[in-house]
Symmetry: D2
């Protein structure tokens, strides 16, 4: 986790700007012998691809990923895997206004202040387009996890749009792929659709909350103190564009609980493994997985690129107004769902490898 690299052992370095010739991810430390081919990665990229409904940006990006290295005859060799996505829709529009003033809520001003130079085309490196590379790399991680942790399932979905929350009593996992919001509550999705139409027409945008769950993870992944599984997940999710908060299990709600209310009591399951009366811990105790579902939520702020004029300053320090024209996501949280899943996959695989290094995968027996 250093500048553009994520992970300790399964290390992903993303590179590339929104409007440069290409972007991608350099994946180092991948276990050898894992079946890997471009369609396996394209599958995940297609889920993130814009322009799939009227609720995401109408930019056309095919986001075709190529594997340039690290495989031989359809299997990983253990050497670096270079994933490249060429930018096909680099519309050579005039970006003079963006270059001359700072869009509120964007990284324009901070990149400028830090580096004294910035690539204004489409936000350059700070564009959410970088997350395409994460999804591609996450696809590699998923392929490896399929070998190493059979039974693991990673599922992301939206649980809140603005003030409108999905109803957990109505959750049906089968619904997630049936609406444009990855929402497991079909009736919430219908309400959100209407709400988002209104916002979109008003040139406005809205925030969202995403939940990502990993089921089937064995106990024992993670580490004490700074290598905690939850600390890794927090960094991973907070590193996604526009994310402002990360919760594990009960999350902020844990502050409202009493000790008796919060305790996940422990029993023996019929399969001879511990089971818990509840999962306020979100599947993690002391930074180490319990074997329960690992549950992470994160809040995505509303897209800062909106059609309503906002006050700002120019590079020269003059006060002015700006309207961010272009094709933007009214709820960027929608497309954050596959990204959150990808980050979960990256964290879990990295932690799996760290654990295998230190313990050899041995586990303390219970019962």
């Amino acid at each position: 986790m250093s500048l553009n690299t994520f992970g300790h052992l399964f290390r992903v370095t993303t590179w590339g700007e929104s409007h440069g010739p290409a972007l991608g991810a350099t994946v180092d430390g991948c276990p050898p012998g894992v079946a890997l081919a471009e369609p396996m990665l394209q599958h995940w990229l297609d889920r993130r691809k814009p322009g799939q409904s009227r609720y995401t940006t109408q930019r056309r990006e095919d986001d075709l990923v190529r594997i340039l290295s690290g495989t031989f005859e359809g299997r990983t060799t253990g050497t670096p895997i270079q994933l490249m996505i060429e930018n096909t829709d680099q519309r050579s529009k005039d970006y003079g206004e963006i270059a001359a003033s700072f869009r509120p809520g964007h990284a324009d001003i901070t990149y400028w202040q830090k580096y004294g130079i910035r690539d204004p085309r489409g936000g350059g490196r700070s564009s959410a387009r970088e997350t395409a590379a994460r999804v591609a790399a996450g696809g590699v991680a998923r392929a490896v996890l399929a070998d190493l942790v059979p039974g693991l399932r990673i599922t992301g979905y939206m649980v809140q749009m603005g003030r409108l929350r999905a109803d957990r009593d109505r959750f049906d996992p089968a619904e997630i792929d049936r609406n444009p919001f990855w929402c497991p509550d079909a009736s919430a999705a219908a309400i959100w659709a209407e709400h988002l139409d209104d916002l979109r027409k008003a040139g406005n945008s809205i925030g969202a909350v995403i939940e990502v769950v990993a089921s089937g993870l064995p106990a024992g992944l993670g580490a004490p103190i700074y290598g905690k599984l939850d600390a890794g997940l927090a960094a991973a999710m907070m590193s996604i564009n526009a994310v402002k908060a990360v919760e594990i299990g009960a999350g902020m709600g844990a502050a409202e609980l009493s000790g008796t209310g919060n305790a996940d009591e422990i029993f023996m399951g019929e399969d001879g493994r511990p089971r818990f009366s509840s999962n306020h811990a979100g599947g993690i105790l002391g930074g180490i997985s319990t074997g329960q579902d690992v549950v992470v939520r994160f809040a995505v702020k509303p897209t800062s690129s909106i059609l309503q004029p906002r006050r700002t300053i120019t590079l020269g320090g003059a006060e002015t107004e700006i309207v961010t024209k272009g094709r933007h996501d009214p709820c960027v949280g929608i497309r954050a769902v596959p990204v959150g899943e990808a980050m979960m996959a990256l964290v879990l695989l990295d932690q799996f490898l760290l654990d295998r290094a230190q313990t050899g995968g041995a586990r303390g027996p219970i019962g």
Copy 2:
């Protein structure tokens, strides 16, 4: 951020168990020539020290810190600084029950499952006692920051206990040191005191929300993508014992905002520097500091060690009940305040050094 080490350039490795002979922190990468002496660190440790009010554990730990290396004639030499705190209150009580069964909400079960061995005395490495070493190391970071970022102020305080929230309209920074809860709202503190007395007598505990603010930080610290300042803060705070959520600026509330409501509009200040109409961003855009206050909040779950019996299992897999006797914090969030400040100091100094390495501290001019 790897197992027991925090930081990229200012690297802190904490070590030691709750009931071993000593614990401490090995601090590497400290800039040379900084004035440093034990009383400067003791100052911060004394704030975290237990037994200061009836609302924290009555364990007696003097937590006296010694500097074993890395200074000469009262100044840092640029070589590793070893900070050691001897454990004086290692009451040799019988820990047989804890060793034989797993306390719900504690890391007992996950340490056992991962390592196949655990030090049951006082929670061993998973004890909140490890945070004493963080506070000591944070003291070193503060001494360095005093030289490198004059004007920087780091302030932590409690904003919520259970469902009881402090009222921001009543915030008075001077109150923070005047009540046992580090609460800037005196009237909230009074209510909390009563509430916590009830919980303590009932053998129960309660969660809390802590806010840590850094004022006077220059723009330009942090980095894009995985080295984001907010990603670093998220990992830092989530690594603290019992923390279940981290928020930056508007935090989870950002999900409820519209694009117009969320935008921090930009103006020119009279000092020739940008100022903002609001700070939903929490002082960070695109992972890089804006020069506004950096605002982080985190939720601390209620202490899992409570006097009310909880159901659990033994090492042998038998179901049983457990009561965690001993001297515990009814609201462990109280003592998390100095720890959150320490983590903020560690993150900011590390990011300062990373930025100085890459940019030399140069900044893009505005106006």
Copy 3:
């Protein structure tokens, strides 16, 4: 320095196989605002390019480098720089024999044993072709160093081929670019030419010693203990294909010296800076640069791909003989010269940034 990544702050991850579609380097942590364009990198790649004399492989590789990211209008932006070199000469020859048995002296057998899979085409990842990516990345480092350490000069040359040593009394830096061996001793170069012709005709190969010198480096780069400048250089040079030894200053010869003979006595130079009576230390004391020339030497073993049959085993464990046909370098040390220079540049820039982080570039005054 972890698998395929080199460096702490200026981090280079190389990727790609000899006969894949492309190879390259992902450069992270580059300072912003540095002038950078493809011809600046191509300059160094052309020096390494094969087929320039009859003493290097006759493979045709144009080694054209493209910058895919990290620059805007000819300057670095501080974001990752992706350097890609497409492989144009992927002759689709039959590699069945290489795939079925292990070439002695090559990594064939160890890659197989470690990974259980290997890309046999041209040696795959273990091919010396990977060094093209290092040279490209080294070109970026040189561009940055030109800004940060004006006056720094990095020069590599060959000082020994087989048992034939160049004569230091005849060294003329101007000669280095005038012969195919980068030899500063013109008469040695003439003798080597004859010797190498004989070896080449006999289908044999020969080892070499390369020396790389950095002049104009300020005192104070490096760090104590494991971050020593010489430890970094040792790892850097030893990581180059076929290198079997690394020397700093007097090198192995230091073992033969007495304390009086080895001491580099110190005087004050007329420029008010320390100067030394000699440089047995190779410009490094206690892991930190003295301001003298940094002098590194490394030994390159003879190319293992030779036309004379060698005994080996097959994948199935049968004993056999192998002749490595193809277009090989009779003295692979020749092409290691630009690679050694590139590694020197990578180490020095990384150390410069590390030092700037910790000390801010301040220096203790003398006199």
Copy 4:
């Protein structure tokens, strides 16, 4: 490998100065469940301890190591192991002269120039005393390796003192522990004893070459490119005080070999594993172990602290002479033998864990 930390997964951070209250090593990432107690570490420290013959410094240092954390009931818990050695012989002599001028060949001048401050007492952090902490940490690594790689043997010995080389035809491993030079050639040891007596009486010192061999290491440890096993060994050995060169296998001599002479031809051994006709490669091909003996040599320069006056400068820039009084090693190479062994252990364990992480310990079958 960053400042004072060595290793990727088995991470050792040494700390402490020659004349401070204590020094030690913080060991993170240790596998759990390994039997470990202080006498196991003391065994190795006693081999390095000064004052054991008239050929090493007469300083009295008991070098008693304490384990402050990371074990429970005699076994490692997987948490950080703190090893502390108190400095008992901090003779409070006047170090004014050393503080005021720079000893040639020492790090005095570079520490001063880099940091603007240095601890002059006994060389402070640059003292060879730091290697005691390495030996202690190496002892932990050996304990782990005994579990993970049964049959591994690490043996260090001196092969050259000044110009006097041991005769490989006379090597008898049993001799190593029988003379004060760890020399496997008894007759060489006798000659060296006489030679060193003369040097010592003359107030002079001498360099040496140490060889460290690891037998019984499985094939497959190490990694391509920058994670090469030999690159790690080079950094490890070069990080030892006074080391100026590192060789693997044929080392510098590889430069003199032809391709036919250098090839280690491969056969099938009777045990069904590959064997090699020779070991010019030093047990490493392409950065990965072959299963042969891993052979490393390093040159140690003569002690710079000698009784003959050397010319130098003062802090104020005046030219002067200095004589380094005190109790010094006439051949510091002698005490480097246990240190080289310790570094070999650290590298091998770290590489074992890295390999286990990536490949799970699987191996490609031959035959």
